[in-house]
């Protein structure tokens, strides 16, 4: 019987619970530093309690001690920064592999996409394995029996928080996406893409350098191996070269469109429709054609 251990800070773990249910064994959530009552739909909750102001990362040793995974069990962790820290502590404690990119998780084996998705490996789950995967949404179901363990945290405190002024976006459900890359020369020029997005009712996304480095869009809008994974009906890539670290995040899109001045840009190899040209003239023309 494959039992599932879920390590979580945020209750956005519905996908992990679904996997655990499909595997059939007991599903235990080890919850670090947050209210355990929101972790519905699992069989058992182990709450690692910590004083106010202690970041979840500081609870790593207590979390690792609570995960008593046996041979054949899997440990599932949502791919979010605080939770990855806990996953690493669990992997070190168990001497277990820690892998991202699991596509299929079965009772005996898992299929893992590796190296930016260029290859897939089937790995044995005979030994405990820590799998870092998309967490999903808030779960539903019954509240589980919960036990509380007082943490012995590392000496770390959150001294201040500067909340974002922009609301977090979840692009995974978007039907249409207009994505911008370094082909745009200035932040103001993004208006061309925003106009197209508005005309077709699309969400705006980007390649990583536009969010990190340029800082023109929020970090939760970049697509790729380290960013969002999306599968819209249509993905329109404007001035994006199509490095695999980007395309791995959008390769499941139904229809892909690319506009790029370089006819050899790798993005065209994964596109249904393309225009080789300058985004500064082509994008406004597409917007006009839509209208």
């Amino acid at each position: 019987m494959t039992n599932t251990w879920i390590v979580a800070v945020s209750p956005q773990i519905s996908a992990l619970i679904d996997t655990g249910r499909a595997l059939g064994g007991t599903v235990t959530a080890v919850v670090a530093g947050t209210d355990p009552s929101r972790f519905l739909g699992v069989d058992r909750v182990i709450a690692i309690a910590a004083p106010e102001g202690v970041p979840a990362e500081a609870l790593a040793p207590s979390v690792a001690s609570a995960v008593a995974a046996q041979a054949g069990d899997v440990v599932l962790v949502a791919n979010r920064p605080s939770e990855r820290v806990l996953a690493g502590a669990v992997a070190a404690k168990l001497g277990a592999p820690i892998l991202t990119g699991a596509k299929v998780i079965g009772k005996e084996t898992a299929e893992i996409s590796r190296y930016g998705g260029v290859t897939q490996q089937t790995i044995s789950l005979a030994q405990p394995v820590v799998l870092v995967v998309d967490g999903g949404t808030a779960p539903s179901g019954n509240a589980a029996a919960s036990e509380t363990v007082q943490a012995e945290p590392y000496a770390a405190t959150v001294t201040s928080t500067d909340a974002s002024s922009v609301a977090q976006v979840n692009l995974s459900a978007a039907k249409r996406i207009v994505a911008v890359g370094r082909g745009f020369k200035s932040e103001a020029d993004l208006q061309l893409a925003k106009d197209l997005a508005a005309a077709i009712g699309a969400d705006l996304a980007c390649s990583r350098p536009i969010a990190e480095g340029s800082g023109w869009l929020a970090r939760d809008r970049y697509i790729g191996v380290s960013g969002q994974h999306v599968a819209p009906d249509v993905y329109i890539a404007l001035g994006i070269s199509g490095q695999l670290q980007h395309t791995v995040g959008m390769t499941d899109s139904r229809v892909v469109v690319a506009v790029n001045s370089d006819e050899h840009a790798p993005i065209f190899a994964g596109s249904d429709y393309g225009i080789v040209g300058d985004i500064y003239t082509v994008v406004p023309a597409i917007t006009a054609a839509v209208k």
Binding site: P55, E57, A58, A60, A64, S82, V85, G88, A89, A91, A92, K93, A96, P97, I98, L99, T100, S113, Y115, V118, T119, Q120, Q121, T122, I123, S124, V132, Y154, A156, V158, T159, S160, D162, S165, A167, Q168, G213, A218, R219, V225, S226, Q243, L244, Q245, V255, V256, V257, P266, A269, G270, S271, D272, Y273, G274, I275, V276, A285, A288, A289, V290
Partner: protein, 253 residues
């Protein structure tokens, strides 16, 4: 006190070829100091200069990681010295096992106050190595850190967090992964490369370190099916109109 940066000598899978059996041929992909690691080295340089301490790079890789080119590549970025494990045996190791060896190198250095890493390696891109190193060291770990400053008893970190930021004060040593834009990585000049040739790089044998036993059994490889695409390129003045018509005809607009 020593500031340590863990870096990886790795190739971009974009440049590798994959056989129909799913096995990767890396021979045409050129290894370099992984794209984001120079940012961590530069953050480390600033901290080391501020504290008047030494900046030591550590890496665990195949024999290529200890080539003259690899050593210069890392040392020219601003390290004072490097401690290198270079053994082809690690090629197929589980990341957890590699992390245990990196942790063993940190312990060997002895007085490390912080271990910095880049955001992710160009080949795996998994963003987990710092967390494993921290697990083995028994140190706290923080990812997506925008800035690092030393305090009387430890470190103050500003971390990207849920769209905003938060500041964390911690006592003692830590493993910290910095964001890709935490600082601007310096491009080494000729002088840096020449100086790098004179900096010490020590190779440590795997056998002299305590690597964790981690069982990762790969039972099959396969090449993922890629979605068939239309590959239709529109040209001419009415290309935008043709594109819109095509998108309407397939029902996505």
């Amino acid at each position: 006190m020593t500031i340590v940066v863990a870096y990886k000598y790795a190739a971009n899978p974009q440049d590798a070829s994959v056989g129909s059996d799913g096995r990767i041929d890396w021979s045409r992909a050129k290894e370099t100091v992984s794209e984001y690691d120079p940012v961590a080295i530069q953050v480390g340089r600033q901290l080391a200069d501020a504290a008047g301490s030494e900046l030591v790079g550590i890496t665990v890789g195949t024999t290529a990681a200890n080539s003259s080119l690899a050593r210069k590549g890392a040392l020219s970025r601003g390290l004072d010295r490097a401690v290198i494990v270079a053994d082809d045996a690690v090629r197929d190791w589980a990341p957890t096992r590699v992390g245990s060896v990196l942790a063993a190198l940190v312990e060997r250095i002895g007085d490390a106050a912080i271990v910095l890493t880049g955001d992710a390696s160009v080949d795996e891109g998994a963003q987990v190595m710092p967390t494993v190193i921290a697990g083995y060291l028994g140190w706290p770990c923080f990812l997506e850190v925008i800035s690092v400053a030393q305090t009387a008893d430890g470190w103050e970190l500003v971390q990207a967090h849920e769209g905003g930021t938060r500041t964390i004060a911690l006592a003692g040593a830590a493993v910290v992964s910095v964001t890709t834009d935490a600082t601007e990585a310096r491009t080494p000049g000729m002088k840096d490369i020449l100086a790098a040739g004179k900096k010490p790089a020590e190779e440590v044998a795997l056998a002299d370190l305590d690597a964790a036993e981690v069982d990762l059994t790969v039972t099959a490889h396969s090449r993922p099916a890629t979605k068939a695409r239309e590959h239709q390129v529109f040209s001419g003045d009415d290309a935008p109109a043709q594109l819109v018509a095509a998108l309407r005809s397939v029902g996505v607009l």
